[in-house]
Each structure stands twice: as structure tokens, then as C-alpha cells.
């Protein structure tokens, strides 16, 4: 399946990229998306979202999903 992965703020800066398209086996989890897309082990430090809703490490993604990784938020 094919998904889009977005990175924001300090994570975006550290990885040196803000977006990539990724091919993955069906029913991969958020943690697997992180590892596949960054080459780093999942350490649970990043917040994650699937299709603009917060998601947990074990949540599974589907074909066409937009997955995002970012640090704790600091708006307002």
C-alpha cells in the first residue's frame, strides 16, 4: 500500500525532510511507518496522527492514509 508521511517542527529539522511517499506492506502500524520512513527505531517520543487525528504506536494505517509525526505542541 502507499501512504504519505509528514514531519513537523524539530523532527522535520532533524530528519531534513518534511514529507515523503512510502510503499509499505498492508496493515503496517504507526511504529512501523516511523521505522520504515526514517530508518530509526521507534522510541515513542514523537506524537503521531493518521489522517489528521491523533494515533498510537500500535494503530494500523491503510492505503492512501496521511501519517504525521511531530513533537509536543506549543501553540496558543
Amino acid at each position: 500500500m502507499s501512504i504519505t508521511v509528514l514531519y513537523f517542527a524539530a523532527i522535520r529539522e532533524r530528519l531534513g525532510q518534511d514529507r515523503r511517499e512510502l510503499e509499505l506492506p498492508a496493515s503496517a502500524t504507526i511504529a512501523e511507518v516511523w521505522t520504515q520512513s526514517t530508518g530509526e527505531p521507534w522510541n515513542g517520543q514523537a506524537l503521531a496522527a493518521i489522517n489528521q487525528e491523533y494515533a498510537k504506536a500500535g494503530d494500523r494505517v491503510a492505503d492512501g492514509d496521511e501519517v504525521a509525526f511531530f513533537p509536543p505542541v506549543t501553540g496558543g
Binding site: L6, F8, A9, A10, A49, Q52, E53, Y54, A68, F70, P71, P72, V73, T74, G75, G76
Partner: protein, 143 residues
């Protein structure tokens, strides 16, 4: 119920005035308006801050803020709600966020307004990067 994200300068009092004038259906029905405005200070954790950049995740920010407003409306039965948040380059003394709530009585208005700004600060995907004499750094989340 409106949520707006904008890059340009934000005049919160003009927003509140216009929003209220446009929502003629609530005129005579609301007895209480609670407004919160968050403004950029020129210092943070003892350091002078020269400028700030506010990064965000546009689609998710919009969705999260609408969800938060819905929660506040359902929990306190408020009549009308407005949230405006800036992104991009921000200068000290610039308003960053506006939350305005119209309701029958003050208890609902205060509680809903407080709920929205608290939830926004923990759930809406914005990230502040400050420019100080030491360079740029990402702001840590408040306790």
C-alpha cells in the same frame, strides 16, 4: 461556530466585534461574552525574544480546533464560538490566538472559553520557534 487560521496580523477586538455583528440570531439571547487573547511576550524563561515563527499542520489544526469547539459547545451549551489563530512570523506584542464565547450566563462563557484555550494548547498542532540572541530554538511544552 468559526475557526480561522491566518498568517497576517490579527486584530482580536475587530474580529469579536464583526463576528458578533454578523451573528444576528444570537442578539438579545446572550448575556455573557468571555474572550481570551494570547499575545507574544518579549521575554520567555528569562531571555529576550526578538521574533517567533509558528509552524503548524494546517488540515489537522483546523480539524482539532473544530472538534474542541464542538466539545465546548456540547458541554456548556454556548450560543456561539470563535477561534482565530495565527501562524508564520510573529513579533513581540502581536496577538497569537483569540477565543471568544457567547452564552446565556457567565459561568458557561468562562468555562467554555477556558476549556478551548487549554485544549488548544495541548492538542492543536502548532510549534513555536523563538529567535533570541542565542539563535533559534523550539519552545518546550508548558508543564
Amino acid at each position: 461556530m468559526s475557526v480561522h487560521l491566518q498568517e497576517s496580523a490579527l486584530d482580536p477586538w475587530e474580529w469579536v466585534q464583526r463576528h458578533q455583528a454578523e451573528h444576528t440570531a444570537i442578539q438579545g439571547k446572550f448575556g455573557a461574552t468571555s474572550v481570551f487573547v494570547g499575545t507574544m511576550r518579549d521575554f520567555n524563561q528569562g531571555q529576550q525574544v526578538e521574533a517567533m515563527t509558528l509552524e503548524h499542520y494546517p488540515a489537522m489544526t483546523q480539524k482539532q480546533l473544530e472538534t474542541i469547539c464542538d466539545e465546548a459547545r456540547q458541554q456548556w451549551g454556548v450560543l456561539e464560538l470563535l477561534v482565530v489563530h495565527r501562524y508564520g512570523a510573529i513579533k513581540p506584542n502581536d496577538p497569537i490566538v483569540l477565543v471568544a464565547v457567547w452564552s446565556g450566563h457567565r459561568e458557561q462563557a468562562f468555562k467554555a472559553c477556558r476549556y478551548v484555550i487549554d485544549a488548544l494548547k495541548t492538542r492543536a498542532p502548532f510549534w513555536k520557534q523563538e529567535q533570541t540572541s542565542d539563535g533559534r530554538h523550539w519552545v518546550e511544552q508548558e508543564g
